[in-house]
């Protein structure tokens, strides 16, 4: 006896590709697992960078916050690069716990006035607009107001986007407030960086751009869900610039104003229109030759 034919829809359709469903599921799961792992790795990196920066600067005496040693400045910029502003804030807190000035390239200790009171008055001399009431804690983060300015100058350049979602070329460059004094020509450094981020293979660059456009961005999406393979289309005949055809236009001149992106809107079905035309043909000089008001 043959099994009765099911009236239900078939639950599984024949696979369109050669890969089985399990394989595809596995790939999707792996893709997302890799994204998560990437994120974890970056978070750990931020933690370790924070730990390193607590004891900065490494160079001693001749260098100070206004004139940081080039080595320290460069590694500081590199270490702080994956940070979000909130990570930078916690770096300042950690440095303050160890009694350092909040600015990572400053070798001084932070100031601490033992006086009581929660607030401090600053700008008591000079113009009235400079006068401010500031929380004591805010002032005690730094060794001086110049260092506060330097540290916040770096903070505003950090990207709000978490490092694992950033696109690779964005927010690479961090400037220091006193960079030009540091002896090394900053433009040279910048050129080096730009070179290193231009992929040698133009096809690779196109693929990266396309992946960015699709939203498969960030460092984790090196291998996206979609295989991107850009193929150049071979064009045999010489390219021709588009031209404006003048002779064509005289015929269409009457209806040209009705056109929307090359399409003329007409009302009613073809048959109705023909019927209309016949009617109009009969009473050619009749009263209703003007049909503007009649839409059907």
């Amino acid at each position: 006896m043959a099994a009765p034919k099911s009236i239900l829809k078939k639950t599984s359709y024949p696979a369109t590709t050669s890969r089985s469903k399990d394989e595809r599921d596995r790939e999707v799961a792996l893709y997302h697992a890799n994204l998560l792992q990437e994120r974890k790795d970056i978070e750990l990196k931020i933690l370790l960078n924070t730990e390193t920066l607590i004891d900065y600067p490494l160079a001693s005496k001749p260098y100070d916050a206004s004139n940081p040693s080039p080595v320290d400045a460069r590694s500081f910029k590199k270490l702080v690069q994956p940070f979000q502003p909130s990570d930078y804030d916690s770096l300042i807190v950690e440095r303050n716990i160890n009694e350092h000035c909040g600015y990572s390239l400053c070798p001084n200790d932070r100031v601490k006035d033992g006086a009581a009171g929660k607030y401090r008055l600053i700008g008591k001399t000079g113009k009235a607009k400079n006068f401010k009431v500031v929380e004591k804690g805010e002032l005690e983060k730094w060794c001086s107001s110049a260092c506060a300015k330097r540290a916040l100058y770096v903070r505003v350049q950090l990207s709000q986007v978490p490092a694992w979602e950033r696109d690779i070329t964005y927010g690479m460059e961090i400037d220091l407030l006193d960079e030009s004094k540091s002896g090394e020509d900053p433009t040279v450094e910048r050129h080096e960086k730009m070179d290193s981020f231009t992929p040698d293979d133009p096809g690779k660059k196109n693929a990266t751009d396309l992946a960015l456009e699709r939203g498969d961005k960030g460092v984790g999406a090196k291998k996206g869900l979609v295989d991107v393979d850009i193929k150049e289309k071979d064009v045999q005949r010489p390219a021709q610039a588009p031209s404006f055809e003048t002779e064509d236009i005289s015929e269409r001149l009457e209806s040209l104003h009705l056109q929307l992106e090359g399409h003329t809107t007409v009302f009613g079905s073809k048959r109705q229109r023909r019927h209309h035309e016949e009617l109009e043909g009969i009473d050619e000089d009749g009263y209703c030759s003007d049909t503007d008001w009649k839409l059907d």
Binding site: E43, L47, T50, E51, I54, S90, V93, E94, I97
Partner: protein, 241 residues
Amino acid sequence: MSMATEEERATKAREAGDREAARLWRAWRTVHEMVQDRGYQLSEEEVKISLKDFRYQYSGPDGSIDRNKMKFSADPSEIMVKRYTNLPTTAQPVPPPPDVGRIWVEFLPGDNVGIKQMRNFAQFLSQNSHHTGILITNVSITPAAMKIIPAVANETRIECFMEQDLLVNITHHELVPKHVLLSKEERGKLLERYRLKDTQLPRIQLSDPIARYLGLRRGQVVKIIRKSETAGRYASYRLCV
């Protein structure tokens, strides 16, 4: 006149010192009870220390309590080891050894706890091969420092408490029912008896105060014994998530 104010000031300072000592003594008692309730070996004298003895043992030269002295370690009892023993499975006929070991408890002085302090604590634990460490602080630990804990999780297990959370032992409150950690074997029997998967049990959070008190881990099951007006005693089970 000035003599009187001098005296007043001295009395005030002494009273503040007494309050601080009493606070620390209560936290010290609670943490000992906690370690004992988890199944580590501690003597009754250690757990039930009187305020007088505590002040005598842990005072610094200036008479105030010195937090640097407040540290101790304990070894798991046989019962506790048994409770953490893994069962052989078909995949692993020889089960891995129980994941318990010596515990180290330390009170941290200072009004700031950052990455540095946490890293030092983690290094101390792994150097002395302490399986678990409990860090008790007077202030809250910075969020960045808390991230150290998962980063060193494969070397050592760190738990953090604040002094103010240990002033009373929450398990002694009349509205808190008795929580008992089930061993792997008991857990298996329970699931078999009720024909459940573990995810079908009610849950308890890892961050629940009782779960933190007992040092629960994800996947463990606790038996909760409540008093019931109709049934006398009523037991329920929760899976730690």
